[in-house]
């Protein structure tokens, strides 16, 4: 009994560390035929060159005013997340059809929206103008292209609610519900 208790505690502790400290949230996505192993996703390496971007690249999130409370770390992360997701969804639109890539991209979509939500929550402390600053920041040309690609992927069944499991981002729920039951239009090998 004691051994079972200790093993259980080790199991729970290791998973908590894996999820919260190491940030391997992809390990906890639903399995199934549509989802593969996120660590084996080829799209990750294929998009490395996309990260070579100029600091002033205006197609990425950029602050247009000096009167803001956005921390530089948050701005940097918003730009990195946008760069990556744009590459995964827009530059390589068929990448999501491969199951390892899908697992990785679904996890990345969760990170993208959770960062946006986190920044909006911080902005709420400062009032309406700061919320507008954050929303404007996340409305760069590449963010808009990502939104369009997400709608496209949901409407064509390439992304469904079951891919996200319990972690479906609030912003994606309406579009996933709207196109429920669609079979994906991925090119068959």
């Amino acid at each position: 009994m004691r051994a079972a208790f200790i093993l259980g505690a080790i199991f729970v502790g290791a998973n908590l560390i894996n999820y919260s400290v190491l940030g391997n949230t992809g390990d906890y996505l639903p399995g199934g035929a549509r989802m593969g192993e996120w660590k084996a996703a080829r799209i990750r390496e294929a998009c490395y060159p996309a990260f070579v971007v100029s600091e002033r690249d205006a197609t990425l999130p950029l602050l247009t005013t000096n009167d803001h409370r956005v921390a530089w770390q948050d701005l940097k992360q918003a730009r990195t997340l946008t760069t990556a997701l744009h590459c995964y969804l827009v530059t390589h639109p068929n990448a999501i059809c491969e199951k390892n890539n899908r697992a990785y991209i679904v996890d990345y979509i969760n990170r993208y929206f959770s960062k946006f939500d986190e920044m909006v929550d911080i902005a709420k402390r400062y009032g309406e103008s700061e919320i507008t600053n954050v929303k404007n920041l996340w409305d760069s040309p590449r963010n808009r292209a990502i939104s369009a690609a997400l709608i496209q992927d949901a409407s064509s069944g390439r992304l469904i609610k079951a891919d996200f499991g319990w972690s479906t981002p609030a912003a994606m729920r309406p579009m996933l519900d709207q196109y429920k039951g669609k079979t994906d239009n991925c090119p068959r090998a």
């Binding site: 009994m1 409370r69 956005v70 921390a71 530089w72 402390r125």
Partner: protein, 229 residues
């Protein structure tokens, strides 16, 4: 059944005890705000605020120093930036913090040579300059939670590093000591004024404030609240 209970009793007690300590520390500001007569010192003239504040700062009193608006002008002044030259003040602030962390670790490790002594003087002077610059702004700037957090951090770091230089081997030069002493006098006056204005209270500095700050927060009394509109 009794075996299972005895097995989980000790971890359960440990868990609840840990939750009470950690949770109490985190949530006490909110809880104390809910209880009449145990109110923490907000910028208003509550009894605890005027007596130096409670153990816990109000959860909203201190913001994020990296995004403090006062940093924009103060960092530009510290770096002596010309027109058109732009740096992200939050980045410079983070670098200053990172340097301070390294120096603190060196001090803990007992590393006290010429290089680390000079570095401590430089860090004390940098934090002192930043705190003095924040103090030179309008007094009401410290009604902003981010600006207040920057002032609290800058003054705490200044007094901590200034104290470290007193024991450094070899001793710092007389000129450096004079510079730090001037900063110290100026910042002590600043803290006294802000304590009286209610813009800074003891709870903002927590339980581990440098003795100089703790003394000022204890001795001075709040006479008005400049943040109240």
């Amino acid at each position: 059944m009794s075996e299972l209970l005895s097995l989980i009793r000790a971890p359960a007690i440990a868990f609840i005890g840990g939750f009470l300590v950690i949770g109490g520390w985190i949530y006490a500001p909110q809880l104390s705000g809910l209880l009449p007569g145990f109110s923490s010192g907000t910028s208003s003239t509550s009894p605890s605020a005027s007596s130096g504040g409670s153990w816990f700062a109000d959860a909203n009193r201190l913001g994020r120093p990296e995004t403090a608006p006062v940093l924009r002008s103060c960092i530009a002044r510290m770096l002596d930036l010309g027109r058109g030259e732009k740096v992200e003040p939050g980045v410079v602030y983070s670098m200053l913090k990172a340097g301070s962390m390294q120096a603190s670790i060196s001090a803990l490790a007992g590393k006290s040579n010429m290089w680390s002594g000079n570095q401590t003087v430089m860090l004390a002077a940098s934090w002192g300059e930043l705190a003095s610059c924040i103090y030179a702004q309008d007094d009401r700037e410290l009604c902003d939670a981010d600006n207040r957090a920057a002032m609290v951090e800058a003054t705490t770091k200044f007094f901590t590093f200034a104290k470290q230089t007193e024991t450094s081997k070899p001793p710092i030069s007389g000129r450096d000591a004079q510079v730090l002493s001037n900063f110290g006098d100026r910042l002590s006056n600043a803290l006294r004024n802000h304590r009286r204005y209610g813009t800074l209270i003891a709870a903002d500095y927590g339980s581990f404030a440098p003795p100089e700050i703790a003394r000022i927060m204890r001795e001075e009394k709040q006479t008005r609240d400049i943040c109240k509109r």
